[in-house]
Symmetry: C2
Subunit: 306 residues, 2 copies
């Protein structure tokens, strides 16, 4: 397959054209986003949805997620990522597959239905995780385009994927919220340097390859500005696979956590990585490509059979 | 001298009463702050002053400060503090004594006059510095009350001092601005643990003693909230010596810098440290106690004699 988005090959970075639409579907009445929301997402590469879930649903998601963090036994150990230099859990991967409630959340029409509309195809979950940025010493996430990594390291052919973050705690300007560079998704910033094999083990803690160039970032941020979408628990933040984003650390006492789902179009299923020969494990880059069966209706607590 | 504010002595932290006023002077018409500003400072322990300097003065301060950072030769080497793990300059101390323009700034009636009013006494500069938080990898400053350190390590007897930060670059919510806990200045949070001798060398890079307790910080921040005053270059941020403050790191491309002056009331001049026996050096805790001669009028470029 032709590599439309080569990266980590040249000694200098460059801004290449984007060959794919941002909004793959066509807006029509009845779409799960308004025309205005759709245009905003197209232009800016991100979108904030408020009041998607009702308070009981949010409380359910919060307690379910806290249970997972507090009792990681029963989870595949490989899917648990700790902070650099501590045992504190930073992320748990493959949450849609390991937890019934979070699997139901990923399939919810208010989430997956929006992804299906924007990507104009059946969708599957390329990656899911519960992110937890603890208070007092939550670490930063440096700037990156997810697509650059997914393309080079996982073999995602085209820009036809998006991320949805469901906030499980209030994100303020002060507790290390996601920052995006609006409009950065419309070009493809290549990175320099080759990717070592099995790089993913350390890159989940601290990115060292696929790191965007500082001069390029300065130009992007100067042209487009930086926005940190904030909101109450339950707020949903969507962003395009190629939107440049990152987050500062968090010294406030207030932890920040979210449930994070990456939806990819089925037609954009992974091929072999365009960079290193070895694949990353399935919990980071799914290769089952299982179509999400979209479910309507509220999230409710499921009682287990006695 | 009696120690009204004992700290780093007990195995558990506690919140002690504040024995000193916040606003030592009494407001009257003609004061350098409005009655409303004075009350705000009294209640919240910080205050933001905008449009204090005109654009030419701000440009002068910016170019003068950048010159200092770019050409540290000629400065006392001990006053130059670099980032942990790099040679990048984080702070330059004693700037009022080492640079004519910054000395003039410290004496400006719009700065020193406000300090004199709030502290109701002649003032001297306990400490001054140029702070520089570089873009991309600016490090965090953990929460602390300055007074706790100045009392224990420097022998500042009472709470009759304040800090003024003159922003030399725009502070946004995203580039690691100062964060304060409004109202935290009204109690004294003691810290646990003894202070090692010559602790200052490392503490200027990363604080390890005099660190407030996490549970106490959580209670303070939950009760009072966290505010991050932001503003354009030229904005002045004042805060009381006992206001709990800190800042997150900065991954944005936009550096953050400020000129920072600590004014102390002459009547509150340092005695021997209440903690360790050894004094910190004068560039960190001045013991000349030289009254600031307050100067009125604009900051102007001084041509050197040929």
């Amino acid at each position: 397959m032709d590599d439309l988005y080569p990266s980590r090959r040249e000694p200098t970075p460059s801004l290449l054209p984007r060959h794919d639409p941002v909004v793959h579907g066509r807006w029509a009445p009845g779409a799960p986003l308004s025309d205005e929301q759709t245009r905003f997402y197209d232009t800016n590469g991100y979108l904030v949805l408020e009041n998607v879930f009702d308070p009981a649903e949010i409380a359910l998601l919060q307690s379910g997620s806290m249970d997972l963090l507090a009792n990681p036994a029963g989870l595949d150990r490989e899917t648990i990522i700790t902070e650099r230099g501590s045992d504190e859990v930073r992320s748990i991967f493959a949450i849609h597959a390991q937890n019934e409630l979070l699997g139901r959340l990923a399939a919810d029409s208010r989430i997956a239905g929006v992804a299906r509309f924007l990507l104009d195809d059946d969708v599957y979950i390329h990656q899911s995780r519960l992110n937890y940025k603890p208070g007092f010493d939550g670490k930063e996430f440096y700037w990156h385009s997810d697509f650059e990594t997914w393309h080079v390291e996982d073999g995602m052919p085209r820009m036809r994927a998006l991320s949805m973050s469901i906030l499980l705690a209030e994100n303020t300007a002060n507790n290390g919220p996601l920052m995006v560079i609006p409009g950065s998704h419309r070009k493809y910033l290549t990175c320099v340097g080759e990717t070592p094999e099995n790089h993913y083990r350390s890159s989940l803690k601290k990115q060292e390859y696929g790191v965007p160039d500082r001069e390029m970032l300065t130009a992007l941020a100067s042209d487009h500005g930086i926005v940190a979408p904030t909101g109450k628990a339950g707020t949903v933040v969507l962003f395009d696979c190629n939107t440049m984003h990152g987050s500062n650390g968090n010294i406030t006492p207030f932890p920040r956590s979210n449930a994070f789902f990456v939806f990819n179009a089925k037609a954009n299923s992974l091929v072999e990585p365009f960079g290193p020969k070895s694949r990353r494990p399935d919990f980071i880059a799914d290769r089952a490509f299982t179509t999400v069966d979209i479910v309507k209706g509220p999230l409710v607590r499921r009682e287990r059979a006695a």
